[in-house]
């Protein structure tokens, strides 16, 4: 009984942990003159490319950027390898 409760707790913890750590890398632009950037952002909602797109679009637009596409969604594991590429735009928006 105790073991099964522990297992349940662990599962819930892992699930909530996975949900909290959802990130997306995306590409955005500014016009006149053309500026491009590749960035990484945390996603609060569902962890899918479509949801990330819907969520990032208004966030970037508020900062004057136009979202071009969402490359992928990933969790903590993929964060470190993208840090260098994203540079200034690592977890900025």
């Amino acid at each position: 009984m105790t073991r099964s409760i522990l297992t349940l707790l662990l599962t819930v913890l892992i699930a909530s942990g996975a949900q909290a750590a959802c990130f997306a890398d995306y590409k955005a632009k500014q016009d006149n003159p053309l500026h491009l950037h590749y960035g990484v952002a945390q996603i609060d909602g569902a962890c899918s490319a479509d949801a990330a797109r819907a969520e990032l679009q208004p966030r970037l637009a508020a900062a004057g950027w136009q979202l071009l596409n969402v490359v992928s969604v990933f969790d903590d594991a993929g964060l470190q390898e993208r840090k260098d590429s994203a540079g200034d735009f690592y977890l900025r928006y």
Binding site: K27, Y38, N69
Partner: protein
Amino acid sequence: MLGISTSAIESRQTGNRVVIAGISAIILILLVAAVVLFANLPDANAFNARVERLFVENNDLTTQAEIKLLEILAGSGTAFSATLDSYRFVIFVLLVFATAMLIAAVAFLVMLVVLNRRMGRIERKGIEVNSLLISREENTVYLNNFEFKLTEAAIETLSVLAEARMDDEVLSGAEIEAVISGRNAVDCDEAAGATRIKRLRDTLGNQMISELLVKNIARRGYMLAIDKDVIRMV
């Protein structure tokens, strides 16, 4: 004489119409060319769109250096497009110049055609009197700057005819004699006026022919004052 000058005016009017039509056609062509020119040259966004597509389509183009390079590429494209803009302006200025030349050429061509037609008519007519100046003191009459010396009586007759022409009148022989002699027209002889006309024609015609056709070269003799190519014997 009157018929000729009327048709000359007509041909000038036709010429004017042709010139106006030609010039408006040229301006229309210029406008179309300008629109095509300004609409068809690529703008800066063509380059930017290409670079953007490149950026989106290649998922591994993510490092900062690569992105910077892409931005520089787009920037140089924009600079090139600014150059194209200045080219476009230069081309347009050249187009305007060329059109002005074209208009001038067409206008001159039409003028030349009209002038040629007129010249041909004048040549066939022989002599067209454009100016008649009578100098009574010197007993001289100037026809198109040809100077003819006349007798006093002949000048008198010519003056009477010139005055009558200015009033659009036709004089009979008796009337001419009446004006010159100062008597009443009913007392004058028709033949007397006719004689005056004949004398005027003789002296004036004689001098005109010697000026225009049969030249007298001093101490050498006589020669026809015309181009030998125009002579034909039938």
